[in-house]
Amino acid sequence: MTTTTPTEGQLTTVKRRSFVAETWDSLRHSVAGMIGLILIISHLLLAITSPYILPQDPLEMNAQSRNEAPSAEHIFGTDELGRDVFSRSMLGGRVTLVVTIVAIGLAVLWGGLVGILLGFIGGRADEIIMRIVDAILSIPWLLLLLLVIAILGTNMLVQTLTFAFTYGILTIRVARAATHDYVTGEFVLAARARGESRRTIVTRELLPNVRDVLFVDGAMNWSWMLLAFTSLSFLGFGVQPPDPDWGRMIAESRDVLAIQPWAVFGPVIMLSTLIIGINLFADAFAKALGLDRSQGAPV
């Protein structure tokens, strides 16, 4: 009997707590979650401020100082075109961050909405759309992304929309499953029996409950999306030269790994800290919301 249901005698200081305040309260107690949050915020701050504070011009080439080892002037050394690896590493996440953040926002929005509606309406429409969703998801993710890029080009707006579309489809499944958990629940039945409109049921009864699941799923998908986006860049389909980008930097500097490993390690460190930060945060976030995020599809 370890339940901690409050009893009538304890009407002390219960105030209405907002969603954010409550989540923050439980998040604060997680060391891993705070480390994750600090990593994410540092990356965001860096992405915003780096153009103004960097010691070296990331685009300036110098034929005299190619593949230099780390020095006081070049903290991570230089790459094969003599560019400063440190500056490029600091800047290499800007496009990635913008694209993935916008894309994940859009994905959660449209995928969540469609998923909740499908879960709520059910029936034939649901069955047919879920078939199509399954079909799209059975095309390997990289192929799907490459196909769209091959067709529409490597324009960043197109890529953002592509990612938003693909990950939105994943979100549909999650949102629909979460809605299914609630749609037969008694509080939804109670609302239906009252004669509430469908709109009210979706927005007032279902959304507040599915919301948590969507947030956690979004945080998790963000890290998958980062993986996918940098993989594309690595393969040469992502951010185009001369803008620095982690994935492409790693690809370009791989050949000189033996001579100037820092040209690879710089972007690797930056990318890893961001992704690990997101994951630590997502784990703690899920726990704070009382959800367990271990069953994500690895896409």
């Binding site: 079909a135 196909l147 690595f234 040469g236 690879v264 069953q295």
Partner: protein, 317 residues
């Protein structure tokens, strides 16, 4: 039972048809057509016309879809624009190479993941669990090309144990292939283990705190027997589908790793074909990979059906 199996098979076939339609329509959405895409904007009208004639691009859309689909059903995946020979031939060896790589990784990875996951689940929040869980986060979150690059740096450049990249022809025999693929296998295994073990761990924790495990304890069942007879079979059931998903995911992600190691597999072919804008080959690869994906899922579904008594005897309800 037969009805259930039949249902899954029919759904799988339906999904495949849908995929063929999506892939076909996707390529149709191309500005211009496959010929302009391949030859580029600067191509002469004559060369475009010749290519269109050769690949039957003048036929109406529904006719081209049906021809293409009919071909697939007969085992003909079309003709590569780059090589001008049947895609089936182009893909054949590459697919085999990928299968060798993936199978080796799965053979090592799946049992390892299950063992580690069970150990972590049983020692929840103690040091074996903390160690395994933390490494799994690293394995799961680092992109494949980063892991691969780090491994190359350590094992190929510093220690010089293995070659950094594969240097064998596409049609090399499996024996020739093997020494070259140790690093790719390690990379793949690392990623795969990380994913599967996290799930096994969670399932194991769930099951170990279930009423029936508590009951088994209070029935005086020895711990080892509780783990193997009462807990493990139940923890494994939901894992089967995820193993299938992970395998299928590997096939998608394998392209990156094959590119890193310059390994002549289907993933690398896929990247090259897209670079070359060789759409008949891209479409063929999409279909082949989708078939693999759906087959894995189907097998997992059927396996779960066989192993889970609750699903097997869906009597009445």
């Amino acid at each position: 039972m037969i009805v259930l199996v039949g249902r899954r098979v029919v759904l799988a076939i339906l999904t495949l048809f849908l995929i063929s339609l999506i892939v076909f329509l996707g390529v149709e959405a191309l500005p211009g057509d496959a010929a302009t895409a391949y030859l580029g904007q600067s191509a002469t009208p004559e060369s475009l016309d010749a290519l269109r004639q050769e690949f039957g691009l003048y036929a109406p859309i529904q006719e081209r879809y049906l021809t293409w689909l009919g071909g697939i059903l007969q085992g003909d995946l079309g003709t590569s624009m780059v090589r001008r020979n049947p895609v089936t031939e182009v893909i054949g060896n590459q697919l085999r190479n990928t299968v060798v790589l993936a199978a080796a990784a799965a053979l090592v990875g799946i049992p390892l993941a299950i063992v580690l996951g069970v150990v972590a689940g049983l020692t929840r929040d103690k040091w074996p669990d903390i160690f395994v869980s933390t490494s799994s986060i690293v394995g799961m979150t680092l992109p494949g090309f980063v892991t691969a690059t780090i491994l190359i740096f350590i094992f190929a450049i510093r220690l010089e144990w293995f070659p950094a990249i594969t240097m064998v022809p596409t049609d090399a025999s499996v024996a020739e292939l093997l020494p070259n693929i140790v690093l790719p296998i390690i990379t793949l295994t690392f990623i795969m283990v990380a994913h599967i073990l996290r799930l096994v761990r969670t399932n194991m924790i769930d099951v170990m705190t279930s009423d029936y495990v508590q009951m088994a304890r209070l029935k005086g069942v020895p711990s080892r027997r509780i783990v193997f007879k009462h807990a493990l079979p139940n923890a494994m059931l939901p894992t089967i589908n995820v193993v299938a998903l992970t395998l299928a995911w590997l096939i998608g992600g394998i392209a990156v790793i094959e590119t890193v190691f310059n390994y002549p597999g289907i993933g690398k072919l896929m990247v090259n074909s897209i670079n070359d804008r060789d759409f008949p080959t891209v479409m063929a690869i999409a279909i082949v990979l989708a078939i693999v994906y759906i087959t894995f899922n189907l097998i997992a579904d059927l396996l779960t059906l066989v192993l889970n008594p609750r699903l097997r005897s869906a009597r009445g309800h």
